[in-house]
């Protein structure tokens, strides 16, 4: 198609160029003929005029095909001699007569060079021949027919054919190859973009295509920038989470110390009792019981604390809720808050334990902060085939959705007051779940965290 269009355009261009060149050549030929024919007309030399015309016409396009003819006319506009005597016989009156259906200017009116375009597309040039003193000696007549001005379709067709052949043989495969080269990086880039946020940036980064195309390089750079920012954000999240965990652990240390300290005081007393009254069977037995209960209590506390301080890689279990409750119960008891839990697990839990424990701890700590003295907290862990829900209700001052959103919108959870909840929201979005305020609750505030109940796409922390 391109070759055809190019050929069509070049045909038009070559036609107009050929026409200009032919007309320029006619102009030069007329000048030559006027100069050469002058002495021949003066000498009334028909033969030499004929040979002059015959030799000159050979220089003009169309002579070989009989589309071009020259003549010298006498003062009356009759043929004195012509390059084609058969068509323009000697003595034929041309000026003032019909030629190819058109009347030519009469000899008396022909004072300067005339160029006529005939209806059949031919061009006629007429030029007076004058003596040096300005007397009219005759006229040069030139006719070039339309076919001379037409593009050489055969040559152009040949060119077009070559063009098309080249296009088919070289350009089409080359175009396909170039197209593929251009689109392949785009396809690869699209695939990478589709996987951003679901796969490790390190692996994706290597798959961003390297290309010399500035536009694609710009897009690729933007994708790399995006992944690098995501990575930074994930690192920040991880740092924040671990910091928060440490903070939580720190905050719990007092409670834990208290939990351990309580039985320790009893245990130390019991050891002294054993040292002093260990001989008495009843006292020894009751003291050993006391020791066992105290140690058991310490062990329970430590057992609940251990998973929190350890990065785990297992699915959540109902016992995890008990651990978390163990960790916060002391605080609840100290604030006289009633803490109840409920399990409604109807399906295997396939969500990671560490983030869920983190979420449950955060939500419970938040509820403890909000419930106030003598308040009530109700934690529910629900699970079905589709999702895992953990909701915490506290009977403190109800939290408005506006306040809830403001708390979460605090950039990067920098507001320490809302940090725990912000982490919950980040984890929810990371695991393609949700974290929201249940606005249907009449009394108090119920926050709901949920995740799809499926294996994570890859191991998450």
């Amino acid at each position: 198609m391109t070759a055809l269009l190019v050929t069509a355009v070049s045909a038009r261009m070559s036609a107009s160029t050929a026409r200009r060149e032919t007309l320029a050549m006619l102009d030069r030929a007329v000048v030559l003929l006027v100069a050469q024919a002058r002495p021949l007309l003066v000498g009334d030399d028909t033969w030499r005029t004929f040979t002059l015309l015959r030799d000159t016409v050979g220089l003009i396009p169309g002579a070989a095909t009989g589309h071009t003819r020259l003549a010298v006319l006498d003062t009356e506009g009759r043929v004195f001699a012509a390059s084609e005597p058969v068509q323009l016989e000697i003595g034929r009156t041309l000026l003032g007569s019909d030629w190819h259906g058109q009347r030519l200017m009469s000899a008396s009116n022909l004072r300067t060079r005339q160029q006529l375009a005939l209806n059949n597309g031919a061009v006629i040039l007429l030029e007076p021949i004058r003596s040096e003193d300005g007397q009219s000696l005759g006229y040069v007549f030139m006719e070039v027919e339309a076919p001379v001005f037409e593009p050489d379709w055969l040559a152009l067709a040949k060119t077009a054919l070559i063009g098309i052949t080249l296009a088919v043989m070289l350009l089409a495969p080359a175009g396909w190859w170039v197209g593929r080269r251009m689109t392949r990086p785009v396809e690869r880039l699209v695939k990478v973009i589709e996987r951003v946020g679901r796969e490790a940036p390190n692996r994706l980064r290597n798959e961003v295509p390297q290309t010399t195309d500035p536009e694609l390089r710009r897009i690729g750079g933007a994708v790399l920038q995006l992944m690098s920012e995501l990575e930074q954000r994930e690192k920040a999240e991880a740092r924040a989470l671990s910091a928060q965990r440490l903070a939580t652990v720190g905050r719990m240390t007092a409670a834990v110390a208290h939990e351990i300290n309580n039985p320790l005081a009893g245990l130390i007393t019991a050891t002294q009792t054993l040292r002093l009254h260990g001989d008495s069977e009843p006292i020894r037995l009751s003291t050993v019981d006391l020791l066992e209960r105290g140690l058991q209590q310490i062990r329970t506390t430590v057992a609940a604390l251990l998973p929190q301080a350890r990065r785990e890689d297992r699915a959540l279990e109902p016992g995890d809720l008990d651990d978390i409750v163990t960790l916060v119960r002391t605080t609840a008891v100290r604030q006289h808050i009633t803490l109840t839990t409920r399990l409604e697990v109807e399906s295997a839990l396939r969500v990671p334990s560490a983030p869920l424990r983190q979420v449950m701890l955060n939500m419970l700590l938040n509820a403890l902060g909000a419930a106030g003295e003598h308040g009530r907290i109700e934690a529910v862990l629900k699970a079905d085939a589709e999702s895992v829900h953990f909701s915490v209700l506290n009977t403190g001052t109800p939290l408005s959705s506006e306040k809830f959103n403001t708390t979460l919108d605090t950039e990067s959870g920098q507001d320490p007051r809302g940090f725990g909840l912000w982490v919950c929201q980040e984890l929810a979005s990371h695991f393609r779940g949700g974290f929201n305020l249940d606005e249907t609750t009449d009394s108090g505030t119920r926050l709901v965290f949920w995740l799809p109940n499926r294996e994570p796409l890859e191991k998450e922390t």
Binding site: D45, T46, W47, F50, T51, R54, A81, E89, I90, G91
Partner: protein, 287 residues
């Protein structure tokens, strides 16, 4: 410029040095002629020059011109020593010229004038009277077959020159044939020997023409010298020309010219031309 013009230019250049009165040199003998009917005219003339030089005993060279008048001007001005001219200028300037040799065409020192026409004509030309309203090509104003014969025949047919559409001189018999072949002229008056020789050599123009009429036999265009200015080697030149048919090289040259030899000839050979010229007004030949 076509080949013929090129040849003429070459020949003109070859003799351009000969200007102004030049004393007759014993070492050089110059012969003037109009173009011979050969494709390789220059090569032929140089062969003929070498042949004549070795037989005459002095350097012989040819000087070609387009018209008989130009040759006569060179002869009368002493720029050439001999000339090959037509029978008509010979009888016109008979008092100043002497015959050197007359060519033999098919064994005879005579030839005919032809009236030729184009084969493709849509109008029939069968005789001189058919030329009314037609274009007629002559060869040379001093040519017997190319002008004088036509004047006599047109007069006999009752055709005046103004009855013709146009007449023109083609500056040579060969050009007459070309003009008629190209249909620049519908008919032409031509030397029969030239037309036959062109046909024999397969020249394209001849195929486009045909002979309408042949004249009586006239004296063949002769070689002449000035009557009162004899070149010292004139006898040797005459002998060399007359004996060309006696040796192989001379025969080959004659064959190329489509001639069989040369004869000394006599003025009465040209009586028929003289009679014609006397009937033609302005022929320059008194009754």
């Amino acid at each position: 410029m076509n080949r013929r013009h090129g040849i003429q230019a070459l020949l003109a250049t070859a003799v351009s040095a000969i200007t102004g009165p030049v004393a007759a040199s014993a070492a050089r003998l110059r012969i003037g002629l109009t173009s011979v009917i050969l494709a390789d005219q220059v090569a032929f003339l140089s062969r003929w020059e070498r042949y004549l030089s070795s037989n005459v005993g002095c350097e012989v060279s040819f000087v070609a011109r387009e018209s008989y008048q130009a040759i006569l001007d060179l002869l009368f001005s002493g720029q050439i020593d001999a000339a090959w001219i037509c029978g008509y200028p010979y009888i016109r300037y008979e008092s100043d010229l002497s015959l050197l040799a007359v060519p033999l065409y098919e064994g005879e020192p005579v030839y005919q004038a032809y009236l030729i026409r184009s084969r493709q004509l849509d109008v029939a030309i069968k005789q001189w009277s058919d030329l009314r309203g037609k274009v007629l090509a002559y060869s040379d104003p001093l040519s017997n077959s190319g002008w004088l014969v036509a004047q006599v025949q047109l007069a006999l047919a009752g055709v005046r020159e103004r009855d013709l559409k146009r007449v023109f001189f083609a500056h040579g018999h060969r050009n007459v044939a070309e003009a008629v072949a190209a249909r620049l002229a519908q008919a032409g008056s031509i030397d029969g020997y030239v037309w036959e020789t062109m046909r024999q050599q397969g020249m394209a123009a001849i195929a486009q023409t045909e002979v309408v009429w042949k004249s009586e036999r006239h004296g063949f265009p002769p070689l002449v010298t000035l009557r009162n200015t004899a070149h010292p080697f004139r006898p040797q030149l005459q002998q060399a020309v007359l004996s060309m048919s006696n040796d192989g090289v001379g025969q080959a040259l004659l064959h190329d010219l489509n001639l069989t030899g040369f004869t000394a000839g006599s003025p009465d050979l040209f009586d028929s031309i003289r009679r014609q010229a006397q009937t033609v007004p302005g022929s320059g030949v008194g009754a």
